[in-house]
């Protein structure tokens, strides 16, 4: 019997807000240590939490987007443990009655089939601070700017059966949160973190004992960590051992996980209802308002791009990857409505490739949608050819100049004057009498040679359509 891996994922996504979950401190990333703290998030005596409305709204919106049940009444609890970056000695979270229960995230499995991963729950909680253990031989340093930052923990059911499926789920979720603007989900800033529960079983058997892999914070590491863990468990069982339920820490440098057993004592978080916070109630009006603020979701946008703009599924998929990209595309089409498919090609194939080379996001592109639209307009009105246009785009990215200025500066304007084209064709014919004779003798494939010669003489600026047409006529004699 072959082995099957079963994976459930817990994602901690930072809710995109101006202020922390329970106090008015800024959430701006990268501030000087401990300058974005106050008595509340430092856990000073007598200080009390007050929930940020935006946190409740954004987590509810996320729950609606995954078709989850929104609990109009939810409750907060305390999770007790000691750690230097946890100022109060407990984390405010939601265990007994979270704001979102159930839901679905849609992905494609390894065979390209649509499948749904069930969501167990989404709950609101506060982040801990940051501990740095590497700066000194003797002490660990604590920065509490992150203490109290709002998180939503999205807990899936164990519905994924390969590392690739797990990655597909994470990508789908990541894209969804960004679309909803409920999380910036920037993994490098720790705004989208993942723990994986991994177990193996022989196909058809009940679930095996799981290990929880912590600290896997990129799609690549998730894949590596799950594959490593799968292999470790299979080898362990095949060697006659048993998997123990434990927490393991992924080391992305060594490409291996290690057990945290012994370091962590038996967990006993002593959860109990947070007495400083009465239940959270979202009124029917507020829920309706949140629902009304739901933006178009990736799969809806995909469908619309296919039907409204006639895009291929592939292009529609690429352009609906992110809200920024889709917005760019729609602005482009609006400024240059003539040919949405051509616009999609230029954006997906030309611009994105160039931006990737210079490591730039679409939102920061030096070439705006209206810049790109004016380039497309110059192709459409035959001022330049598509080939020349690619050079112009390179120039735009480098110089920041406008399309027309570049065409002017480089003298790229297409030759469309038919008498000028005729003169150039005549010159080429005069210069190549032997080839002319062979062509007229029936060697048709020399036509390409003449096209090449004319384009060479005009440095590619002659309108290719006109060159073709006139050349055919004049070569006949």
């Amino acid at each position: 019997m072959s082995w099957e891996v079963v994976i459930g994922l817990e994602v901690h996504a930072q809710v995109n807000t101006n202020t922390k979950a329970f106090c008015g401190c800024s959430t701006t990333f990268g501030a000087t240590p401990n300058t974005q703290t106050c008595p509340v998030c430092l856990g000073m005596p007598g200080q009390l939490p007050v929930l940020n409305r935006e946190v409740a709204r954004k987590v509810a919106l996320t729950g609606m987007a995954i078709e989850g049940n929104i609990n109009a009444l939810s409750k907060f609890d305390r999770k007790n443990y000691f750690y230097p970056d946890l100022p109060k000695g407990y984390q405010i979270t939601q265990l007994f009655l979270p704001i979102v229960q159930k839901g679905l995230v849609h992905i494609q499995d390894k065979h390209g089939n649509e499948k749904s991963v069930r969501i167990h729950q989404i709950h609101i909680e506060e982040d801990a601070g940051k501990s740095m253990h590497e700066n000194s031989e003797f002490v660990s340093h604590i920065d509490l700017n992150r203490s109290g930052i709002p998180l939503m923990e999205i807990v899936s059911e164990p519905d994924m059966y390969s590392a690739d499926e797990a990655v597909a789920y994470l990508k789908s979720l990541h894209q969804l949160l960004k679309f909803l603007n409920t999380s910036n989900a920037d993994m490098e800033k720790g705004q989208f973190r993942c723990d994986a529960n991994v177990s193996v079983r022989r196909k058809g058997e009940p679930l095996g004992t799981r290990a929880e892999i912590k600290n896997i914070n990129s799609f690549r590491f998730v894949k590596q960590a799950i594959e490593y863990e799968t292999q470790r468990q299979i080898e362990l069982i095949e060697d006659g051992g048993t998997v123990v339920q434990e927490t393991r820490l992924w080391d992305s440098v060594k490409n291996e996980s290690r057990s945290m057993r012994g370091k962590e004592e038996a967990h006993d978080y002593r959860y109990f209802p947070e007495p400083d916070l009465p239940p959270l109630k979202l009124s029917d009006e507020e829920l309706a308002e949140i629902r009304a603020s739901m933006p178009e979701l990736p799969h809806q946008m995909h469908t619309r791009f296919v039907s409204d703009y006639g895009l291929s599924h592939y292009d529609a998929e690429v352009l609906s990857t992110s809200r920024d990209l889709a917005a760019y595309y729609e602005a482009l089409v609006q400024a240059h409505p003539k040919d949405p498919k051509q616009a999609a090609n230029w954006l997906a194939n030309e611009l994105l490739a160039r931006l990737k080379e210079i490591n730039t996001e679409i939102a920061d592109s030096p070439v705006s949608a209206s810049d790109l639209a004016s380039l497309l307009a110059r192709i459409s009105d035959n001022t330049i050819s598509g080939k020349i246009a690619k050079d112009v785009l390179d120039d735009m990215l480098k110089s920041g100049d406008a399309v027309d200025a570049i065409i002017e500066r480089k003298g790229l304007k297409q030759i469309t004057d038919s008498s000028a084209i005729d003169d150039m064709i005549q010159g080429v014919m005069d210069a190549n009498p032997a080839q002319l004779e062979q062509y007229r003798g029936g060697k048709d494939r020399l036509f390409g040679f003449f096209v090449g010669q004319v384009m060479k003489v005009t440095k590619g600026k002659a309108n290719p359509k006109m060159v073709n047409q006139r050349l055919k006529e004049m070569l006949k004699g």
């Binding site: 008015g24 940020n52 946190v55 230097p84 002490v139 604590i142 209802p273 009465p278």
Partner: protein, 92 residues
């Protein structure tokens, strides 16, 4: 009732000398023994009370109200290094 007072003290991060364990252990047993009387109360179908009033939490606007006040807030800190709190090195 048997209570592992060392385990509880460990959870609560309070050092317990053997002497303290000898006094605290039986005291804890007697306190827990006393509250054990609750078991006799019929609470079938009785909801729990976590808050004295049946109210809902107020919500706060998402507006930054705090600015850097690190110096004042760290005035009582027992150990600092360049604005960071320090603790004995944690080995993970």
């Amino acid at each position: 009732m048997d209570i592992d007072v060392h385990k509880i003290a460990r959870l609560a991060r309070i050092r317990l000398t053997d002497d303290e364990a000898t006094t605290l252990g039986p005291q804890l047993v007697s306190i827990i023994g006393y509250v054990e009387s609750l078991q006799a109360v019929d609470t079938e179908n009785v909801p729990t009370t976590a808050h004295p009033h049946d109210i809902f939490m107020p919500l706060r606007d998402d507006t930054v109200t705090n600015s850097d006040n690190r110096e004042a807030l760290q005035a009582s800190a027992p150990a600092l290094d360049s604005g960071l709190y320090t603790v004995p090195k944690v080995i993970e």
